[in-house]
Symmetry: C2
Subunit: 334 residues, 2 copies
């Protein structure tokens, strides 16, 4: 975290405060990540270390560790698995940047921009396989199985998203199914692993898994909103990529479904024509119609549902932090 | 295998004859692969099934199953792991085709040519993660750990190869280190898993692992030769890609290291200029100098070393098949 650049200091500070109950654990996880990605080959070493300057918030390790502490004790398996989920998340980011042709992430040049798409593909594979190896160093296959299944669902979600690219008629149900798979599944998996390896019974672990899934959905909706109306400086990454890639997101779906045929045809036209002007017109329309604000309150309500899952937990600083994350994910600017 | 197209029938027939001791097992593995890659989403389903029309020889599952039968009995773990290694191999092929910008493999359009690079990246990830999930359904973590480590080494080798692209001065040692990692490691891993899960002791499993590694190196050298002088029709894939991508392979290294400075500068010039004419001139030079033939006999001698490892095994049809594979991999035309 010490290498995180300065522009999103505000966000970082709020997150750091939330993470107080697991601050020591996060340091262990960061050291673990750096140690695991040492490599004798200087090129491989540089790439692997670079990838960790791009990932930043450590949201998934934090979820895993907070879920563990909210249930019981954090042990070495948690540190290993927290490193695993962050490594997998980073792998998907590296591959996403190939797909989105993004040039900057977390104020750092993406691998595809600095090296090449080929290097990005291989670096992502390297991180994926290293993460799986690391998961397999635990005593039982539970970790591998949970991680393997979750990442497979993530990839399936990304494939479905690719297939739906440019599809103005994407249904709300399909939008949510894609978001649940590509983003929320790994958050759900992190919470499940944290709870399970802290000794939670199946029912409590399932509640925390659902918390993670709903939090992940809220997070992704907020991320889509950020891409539409955010500030590149604050976000530290290229924005507006969804419209360029003609990706339907919740506010667009919300607006589309309430228009009459003539207006919908106009919206479709703007969607099909990814110029800077048509994109600006789209964002204006989304704001003026209230569709953007509506999507934001839908995210907030999903996050509130996630937080309600925490009722089953005894009072603890980690429970408070998990609840606060429910607020944080929908109010962030980066 | 029944869907394999007809042009490489000769190769397929010779391989089928070799595989007689494990023919039934290979059918089970193929059924398993097809079943595992069923998907409710029609796009994901089509992609996954398509990828198995591109992979073809089933060399890695065959190594795993033959190593098992040469040692003891084949059990369900072997069928699972054979499907796993083939799925991982297919994932690397799908990603390789992005890297090489290849358009045809096994007479079938590559995923990147038929859909897009983005789809290829995600499909490869989908296959990787599915393979890891499948490995985690075994009782112990040995399979996951062995597969995780091997695939990580494969990716590291591919990264090192990317870094060395265009490097006319790549040393013989670095060439062999890259080939051992990117190609031979998965063959070694397949043999180790086959032997281990059939109850081989550590020493015998290690011998079979070395057999697999050396066979894999010989196989890759032969593959590089095929890329230089093969027939696209027979091979069923785009050839000449190594020269286009300015990749140093064994015959080029062999030729380079025996030239005087002036000749070497001329070779360097041809290598740097990837036109059809300079490539044809390079191949002519490799043939006339005997460097190509020398690389071929180096591959044969490495394969012979691999076969000598089999001395530790009791006589069996599977042992004979493993020995015959040592001949096959260096004499193939596809």
């Amino acid at each position: 975290m010490s290498q995180a650049p300065s522009l999103d200091t505000g966000v970082q500070q709020r997150l750091t405060a939330l993470m107080a109950p697991i601050a020591g654990d996060l340091l262990i996880v960061d050291r673990r990540l750096r140690a695991e990605l040492q490599n004798d080959d200087p090129f491989v070493h540089e790439l692997a270390q670079h990838s960790f300057r791009m990932s930043g918030k450590r949201l998934r390790p934090a979820l895993l560790l907070l879920a563990a502490r909210a249930v019981g004790d954090v042990n070495e398996s948690h540190h290993t698995l927290a490193a695993v989920v962050e490594m997998i998340h980073t792998a998907t980011l590296v591959h996403d940047d190939v797909l989105d042709e993004a040039e900057v992430r977390r104020h750092v040049a993406t691998v595809n921009a600095r090296w090449s798409n080929q290097t990005s593909v291989l670096l992502g594979d390297y991180l994926f396989t290293h993460a799986f190896y690391l998961a397999s160093t635990l005593e039982t296959t539970f970790g591998c199985r949970t991680i393997g299944r979750a990442t497979n669902i993530v990839c399936e979600g990304e494939l479905r998203q690719t297939a739906s690219s440019g599809d103005f008629w994407l249904s709300r149900d399909d939008y949510f199914a894609i978001v649940e798979a590509k983003t929320a599944e790994l958050c759900a998996c992190a919470c499940l692993l944290g709870a399970h390896y802290a000794g939670a019974d199946a029912a409590l672990a399932a509640e925390l898994e659902s918390y993670g899934r709903e939090l992940g959905v809220a997070f992704q909706i907020a991320d889509d909103l950020l891409d539409l109306e955010g500030d590149e400086q604050a976000a530290g990454k290229s924005l507006g990529t969804d419209l360029v890639n003609r990706k339907m997101t919740l506010p667009l779906i919300t607006l589309r479904d309430r228009l009459d045929d003539a207006q919908r045809a106009r919206l479709h036209g703007l969607f099909e024509e990814p110029t800077a002007e048509s994109q600006a017109a789209l964002v204006d329309w989304l704001l003026a119609s209230g569709a953007l604000q509506e999507a934001r309150s839908e995210a907030a309500s999903i996050a509130a549902g996630a937080v309600a899952r925490l009722d089953a937990l005894p009072a603890s600083p980690s429970k408070i932090a998990l609840a606060a994350l429910g607020q944080f994910v929908v109010k962030r600017e980066a």
